[in-house]
Amino acid sequence: MLSVRDLGVAFGAVEPLSGVSFSVEKGETIGIVGESGSGKSLTAMSVMGLLPLIGGRITGGKIVFDGQDLTDLPERAYRKLRGGRIGLITQNPMTSLDPLKKIGPQVDDVARLHLGMDATQARARTVEILGTLRIPEPALICERYPHQMSGGMKQRIVIAMALAADPDVLIADEPTTALDVTVQAQIIRLLDDLVKQRNLALVLITHDMSVVAQTCDNVVVMYAGRAVEYGPVETIFDRPRHPYTQALIACIPRGLEETARLTGIEGTVPTVINYPKGCPFHPRCARAEAICATDPPDFSVEGDSAAACHFAEVAHAQPA
């Protein structure tokens, strides 16, 4: 349904994203995971064609959606896709809704624009969608304003907006980061049901490996603007072959013994201007060799997963 090949994005001279590839089919969820600053949110903006809004541009690669390459789609056609066939769910619900407008009209817009509905039809549809998202008394909610809603409620409204025009693909850019834990679980379960019931393709961008584990079919691990490992969730979680993936998995808090010590990763994520040469992870990689510092590793493919690491074969042992 949607496949991204060697996507490269640049802001002026700086290239915070290069060589990212992934694809997702209807009814499937693909997770894009990485620490903040790894460029994962840029994939969402690139797919939506909104890079110019933040001053960025696509430098290379293709974004094929339903057989059509979006990178050279004219704006008018792109606008029909946005909201119509590809829905976006933003990260911070508190600031994603126009505070001056009521909830109802903001959701109705999508249906009226893409499905050519008139006001009453659109409102009926909105109430119905809000209902499916388990929002109490949706008709009343339509008359309220964003500042009268809780964070979780607002995120559901954003999701409703994304669903309003029956899109084929949903892109969720860290949908739960700004919510507290209890609400996070509800939102994740909600997204999961939607993918199943409406046969949607979901691109879930997150930094939380446990969320990936629960919901995604495939996963792409990103580090410093590049994909370092991808593949089905089971294989990646069973036998992570890239040291960074292994470290990420190790960080998931397990077990209940008080003594369990939370493991972290030394060093900090490199900023876009000082991406290290060779393999970007080598300064923080326990197994780094001389070669890692010089030439960037290729993907060593194994079945339907791959890892960009010179020593992918060697690193089978389970982390301590």
């Binding site: 809004l53 933003t90 809704l97």
Partner: protein, 309 residues
């Protein structure tokens, strides 16, 4: 909801207007000299002076005078102008329309042109246009009114003969004065609109609006403009006071009457009732301005409506 909010704001204005009316009443006694001197026939005796003082009620103690004044004010009885020897109400009635037409037109001119220029300069990010806009806004706040008025008269009336040099006859005599006052106003409104729009464009929800597939035109007019209007409305509302009194310089150069000029003349002649009436009108306009500003803001921004009531 809005009515309740407006009513509350009105209630809050009452103590304010009371204190202002006291200040206005007292200001007149700060003025050195008094109007009776202007009225007294030359070489008249102290008794004549006492009689005149009594006639205008200036002999009673201040508190009584104040309440008499306020009492009359409510019955629309502004009293008799001492030096100009005619009811103050007539004087105000004669000058107010001129101020309202000139001030009102200048207000409309500066708000519409100001907002359009502000929006254009915020939306069309063109370096040359940007530099021109900054230059224009800068010029607006540097050129003194009387100087601009003179240049406009010289160019448009003397050289081109399009408009009359001065006077208050017909629409043609309004064009240059409105341009003079409006020029400063346009600069201010344009600057505020530009900044407000730039800020609104940086808000997070704008990304989602684009993601919904709305065209940038709809986004600008349906979502961004209301946000930009909030600070603009506050600035405009606070300038309502200028409609009545701000045009003194222009009224002088163009030889037009107006409430501002009436106040200045009355100040010169120490004509207390006229000064007090003009100041009260101006204060009312200013308070009305702040009220309209608050109500407009509340009606546009639900967050304010909830918080304050």
């Amino acid at each position: 909801m809005i009515l309740r909010y407006t009513f509350l704001r009105l209630l809050m204005l009452i103590p304010v207007s009371f204190s202002i009316s006291v200040v206005i009443f007292m200001i007149v006694y700060l003025l050195p000299g008094d109007p009776i001197d202007n009225l007294l026939r030359v070489g008249s005796s102290p008794e004549d002076r006492a009689e005149l003082v009594a006639q205008y009620g200036l002999d009673r103690n201040l508190v009584i005078q104040y309440f008499v004044w306020i009492g009359n004010m409510f019955q629309g009885e502004f009293g008799q102008a001492i030096v100009l020897r005619r009811p103050v109400a007539d004087l105000v009635a004669q000058n107010l329309p001129y101020s309202l037409t000139l001030g009102g037109l200048a207000f409309l001119f500066s708000s519409t042109v100001g907002m359009t220029l502000g929006t254009i300069s915020a939306v069309v990010r063109h370096p040359v246009l940007d530099r021109f806009m900054r230059g224009f806004i800068l010029l607006g706040s540097t050129v003194p009114g009387f100087w601009l008025a003179l240049l406009l008269i010289l160019f448009f009336s003397v050289n081109l003969g399009w408009f009359p040099v001065s006077g208050a006859g017909g629409w043609t005599s309004l064009v240059l004065p409105v341009l003079t006052i409006g020029f400063g106003g346009v600069a201010l409104v344009a600057r505020v609109t530009r900044v407000a729009l730039l800020d609104a464009q940086r808000e997070d929800f704008v990304t989602l609006l684009h993601a919904k597939g709305l065209s940038s035109g709809t986004i600008l007019f349906r979502h961004l403009m209301p946000h930009a209007l909030l600070p603009v409305v506050t600035i405009l509302a606070l300038r309502i006071g200028w409609i009545l009194g701000g045009a003194v310089t222009v009224e002088f150069v163009f030889g037009r009457p107006g409430l501002g000029s009436l106040l200045i003349r009355a100040l010169g002649q120490r004509d207390y009732p006229v000064v007090q009436a003009c100041l009260l009108m101006l204060a009312l306009a200013v308070m009305l301005g702040t009220l309209i500003g608050d109500v407009a803001q509340a009606s546009m921004d639900p967050r304010i409506r909830e918080k304050k009531s």
